[in-house]
Point group: C2
Chain length 308, copies 2
């Protein structure tokens, strides 16, 4: 634990899985963290989780702080009063978030940033909760938030989005900005589009759940961890890059788009999905699968930072 006076303070409001991950992350990267939740039980569970989350982070990069730098707060004003960034990670409920944002606003330093971790809601849905909506940005992490570097940002005040971007970079994140507020931000729109076709293939009997997952992990998923979708087509276009790709293969892409499916989550499809992941899990529990996922992510992130 180091002295708070030289360090920026981040308040984490909501100490569930996402909040605990944020707390571990900011502490690891040298921030002073204040953690608050209306439920004492949530704070207990977060305190219990922090050492494990911090240990995972230490496998990827040198620790500039740790669980000792996360201060548990009894009241919301205590948590947010000195913070430059207030990371709101409360349940996905509009009235609840509006009430919470209003309470944060009365206690915060006026020029601080409130960043909502919301996945399902948009900035436009949350902004009415504030007297000054410019104070709010959405800053959506991708699960598990302490390991996956992406944070998707949107806000109405470019200066605050700039400042937030710098803070997330200092916490080892890769912030990405939206130009327009959109449900699902960028990443969950992409994930949803991909999963729609994955479910369609299950529904049509083209491939089993576990075959589709194996294809993704050993094919496009692997490549997308290195190269974006647009850039992949640029490299697939020959010497002319994207222009060559669009000339030669644009029409066939449009035909393929037209052939993609629009499945429904009927009882039969749901049963096929549930049975499929059960076969794929091969008896491993959710906790075991998560541990395997985290270990694999850590190995990849280490490979990245070692100069890939």
């Amino acid at each position: 634990m180091t002295d708070d006076r030289d360090r920026a303070t981040v308040a984490i409001v909501g100490a569930g899985l996402i909040g605990a991950a944020w707390a571990a992350l900011f502490a690891h990267h040298g921030f002073a963290v204040r953690l608050w939740d209306p439920q004492a039980g949530a704070l207990d569970r977060a305190a219990e989780a922090l050492p494990r989350l911090s240990a995972q982070l230490s496998e990827i990069s040198a620790a500039r702080g740790g669980p000792g730098d996360v201060r548990r707060c009894d009241t919301l004003p205590q948590a947010v009063s000195g913070a430059v960034l207030i990371q709101e990670s409360a349940p996905e409920d509009v009235p609840l978030k509006h009430a919470l944002l209003a309470e944060i606003e009365t206690a915060m330093v006026p020029e601080a940033i409130i960043a909502s971790s919301t996945s399902a809601l948009t900035w436009s849905e949350l902004a009415p909760g504030l007297a000054d909506p410019a104070r709010l940005i959405t800053a959506h992490p991708f699960n598990p938030p302490h390991l996956v570097p992406l944070v998707e940002l949107f806000g109405s005040d470019p200066a605050r989005v700039d400042a937030a971007e710098a803070l997330y970079r200092a916490a080892g994140r890769v912030p990405v900005r939206l130009r327009k507020d959109a449900t699902g931000h960028i990443a969950n729109r992409l994930a949803s589009a991909l999963w729609r076709e994955a479910v369609h293939m299950v529904q049509e009997g083209i491939a089993d759940v576990e075959a589709i997952d194996a294809a993704l992990v050993n094919g496009p998923g692997l490549r997308w961890s290195v190269l974006g979708a647009h850039m992949a087509y640029h490299l697939g276009g020959g010497p002319q890059g994207m222009a060559g790709y669009l000339d030669h293969l644009g029409p066939s892409q449009e035909r393929r788009w037209a052939s993609l499916g629009t499945p429904s989550l009927t009882p039969e499809v749901q049963a096929a999905l549930i049975d499929g992941v059960a076969r794929e899990a091969e008896g491993r529990s959710i906790a075991e699968l998560e541990a395997a996922r985290d270990a694999a992510l850590i190995a990849l992130l280490r490979a990245r930072t070692s100069g890939a």
Copy 2:
């Protein structure tokens, strides 16, 4: 170079980028490789590329062979006569492939497997080229084929698909089987579905090309290199896994699917894509971008094999 008598022989028919990658891969994994192309120039370029491809493979796993195990053949019958697997990697042209398949069929061992690398065509389109279509499978690799482990298999003869699966595993691949013949196999259908939404976001001004690629590489792409799309929702469903996910969030997925876009590759959208990848490339040539991609893939594959 080792003696051919104890090793299975693979014939590579077509010595373009895909064929050269197959040749390097099978040689690296201890197969005797025979390479043929109607154009001598293609064989020259493949011979020139092999040492670099083999060196990349040696960074990932121990070499059981190398460029010296690739024998250049002057005629198609010379290449295919003793092969257990004939990997056809000719241009994506149905009449050309039909003629080639017929020629292979007259020269091959009857119980051998002809595996087409075709990306754009289906098994059903190619099968009429053969007297005995059971001899044909599609075996689609993902670019760059010597590095990305996925091979997608479809054929009408389960015994031959089994045998092919074993051969690809012996070559360090991850074979995945389709249950039904489908354009785009699995991986390119997923890639096409994802890219449709990526292009839609560019068209709608939600995010820039380079922001979308950065979000993918640092978010879902990274996670999909470890965890399939179905399994990710299983882990997102709480203690009940996929069943819990479908109960709680299935309806919101269906709403999100309905909100995804169906863009057109209009001149404006094409210009935005071309400008976007140019900004993202930051002046790097296609060759430089490919080298960076390969280096990153090799680092990740090394991290995987070291027990991730």
